[in-house]
């Protein structure tokens, strides 16, 4: 972390960048917030640790409007989002200085609470263990148990775009961990009735706070269709179950082929809805129907929904492919 601060200071001092976008430490040890730093003085509050889950690529859309270059710290999976935004002309690569930072997985404070650890005063990451001083005494839990879902099926530790790397993993070339489609496959194997019941239970928790949309780097529309008063798409009303289905299906569809599977939607959902399972379904279908595709792996290929081949499968495949997909 000190290395990041030092480098940021240098880049600010020599005028390469006008501001630094990183994380500022919070009060609890697990609540850093995305923040801009403009001076050496401000950088004393800079932090980078496993609690820095926020994907800063989203903020780069706004940063493109700022004066001068912005230094941004991106974790490997954040770089996919940034690449995708370059492809869509939503960020300005020339006004960005990217330092790729190494990542050992990011954590979800909610999981710590679920493990029964509360009254936290300090948190220390000690190798594979999270150690807490709480008002109820010292506690610890395995680091891996507090990992965000997305990190359990990490895409890989390689940065897709950067100007320089600091603290990148030695196993940078290591491939993905686990099978990220496992949960999707489980759902596919269920009967339609079971699937319907599953999604009903999950989606009915939705409070229409729009956190999933607002945090999503792929949701970069200036005006969202769900914010339009011209259609009765009610951006915030929780008036009928249909609205929740509509919102989540359409949101997932609008980012299909552009979603890099960064997992921010599931990270921020206050009701713990596994929104990534919608996006991954699209990714899985795209992979199987149109060939493997990873959004954000490059900046110039055509996305699967802005492309076609003459031999594409017909929509009737949905009926004919049978259970288990």
């Amino acid at each position: 972390m000190q290395g990041l601060i030092e480098r940021a200071k240098e880049l600010l001092a020599d005028g390469t960048v006008a501001q630094v976008l990183g994380w500022r430490k919070g009060d609890m040890g697990y609540d850093p917030e995305p923040a801009y730093f403009k001076s050496e003085e401000e950088l004393k509050d800079f932090v980078y640790d496993a609690f820095c889950g926020a994907n800063l690529s989203k903020y780069m859309i706004e940063a493109a409007k700022l004066e001068g270059k912005t230094l941004v710290f991106l974790k490997p999976c954040d770089t996919y989002s940034f690449n995708q935004l370059i492809k869509e002309h939503r960020v300005d690569r020339d006004k960005t200085y990217i330092i790729g930072v190494g990542c050992q997985g990011t954590l979800k404070p909610e999981k710590i609470r679920e493990a029964g650890i509360k009254g936290i005063e300090t948190v220390t990451i000690d190798g594979d263990t999270l150690k807490f001083d709480t008002i109820y005494g010292a506690k610890e839990m395995p680091f891996a148990d507090a990992l965000l879902e997305r990190c359990k099926v990490c895409k890989g530790k390689k940065h897709m775009v950067y100007d320089e790397l600091i603290g990148a993993a030695e196993d940078e070339e290591a491939g993905p961990v686990g099978n990220r489609f496992e949960e999707v496959e489980k759902l596919e194997a269920m009967s339609p009735e079971e699937r319907f019941a599953f999604w009903q239970e999950q989606l009915s928790k939705c409070i229409r706070c729009n956190a999933c949309r607002n945090v999503c780097p792929a949701c970069s529309c200036r005006k969202c269709v769900f914010d339009s008063n011209q259609y009765d798409t009610s951006q915030k009303a929780n008036a009928a179950t249909f609205e929740e289905q509509m919102f989540h299906i359409i949101r997932a569809f609008h980012v299909a082929g552009r979603c890099t599977d960064c997992g921010e939607c599931s990270r921020v959902c206050p009701q713990g809805i596994p929104l990534h399972l919608l996006n991954r379904k699209f990714i899985k279908d795209i992979d199987s129907f149109y060939g493997e595709y990873q959004a954000g792996a490059d900046t110039d290929s055509r996305g699967p929904l802005t492309n076609f081949t003459f031999e594409d499968v017909e929509p009737s495949i949905v009926q004919t492919r049978g259970g288990g997909h």
């Binding site: 339609p192 319907f196 019941a197 999604w199 699209f282 279908d285 802005t306 003459f310 017909e314």
Partner: protein, 146 residues
């Protein structure tokens, strides 16, 4: 005396592209080929004009089945529109299936302006399928019923 008709009459929305399928429906009509009156046609400039929201909105407003008809691949008036529509609908239908919506409720069929017969048989088949599936309840909006 009035007899109450309790038989299920499905509501079917058929989005038809202006250049092929709508003309195909026309031909079916002028050839006196029958298809159920439950099918309500909405004419669109091209099958790729159909946004997934249209499909969901149709279900919300009480449709029991939605079918999209366009020019055969290769015959699109705008050259490539239906290729994009094909990808979109494939993914959308798969998603609806994943969410537990009965997968026969949505369909895509390519119908040319010369295929009045195909139009009518497709519609007959589709309506029969919806009869089999019954009323749409998984994508309904109670605010639009009753």
């Amino acid at each position: 005396m009035q007899v109450e008709n309790t038989e299920f009459r499905p509501k079917i929305v058929a989005f038809c592209c202006n250049w092929c399928s709508y003309a195909g429906a026309d031909l079916a009509g002028s050839s006196r080929l029958a298809y159920p009156a439950d099918v309500k046609i909405i004419r669109v400039p091209c099958s790729c004009r159909v946004n997934p929201m249209f499909i969901l909105r149709a279900f919300q407003r009480g449709a029991d089945g939605v079918i999209l008809c366009g020019c055969h691949p290769g015959d699109c008036h705008y050259t490539t529109g239906n290729y994009y529509a094909r990808r979109r609908m494939t993914l959308l239908f798969s998603m609806l299936d994943y969410l537990g919506v009965e997968n026969g409720r949505t369909r895509v069929e390519w119908v040319s302006a010369a295929e009045g017969v195909k139009f009518s048989t497709t519609m007959n088949e589709f309506v029969a399928k919806i009869h089999e599936l019954g009323e749409n309840v998984r994508l309904e909006d109670l605010r639009c019923k009753g």
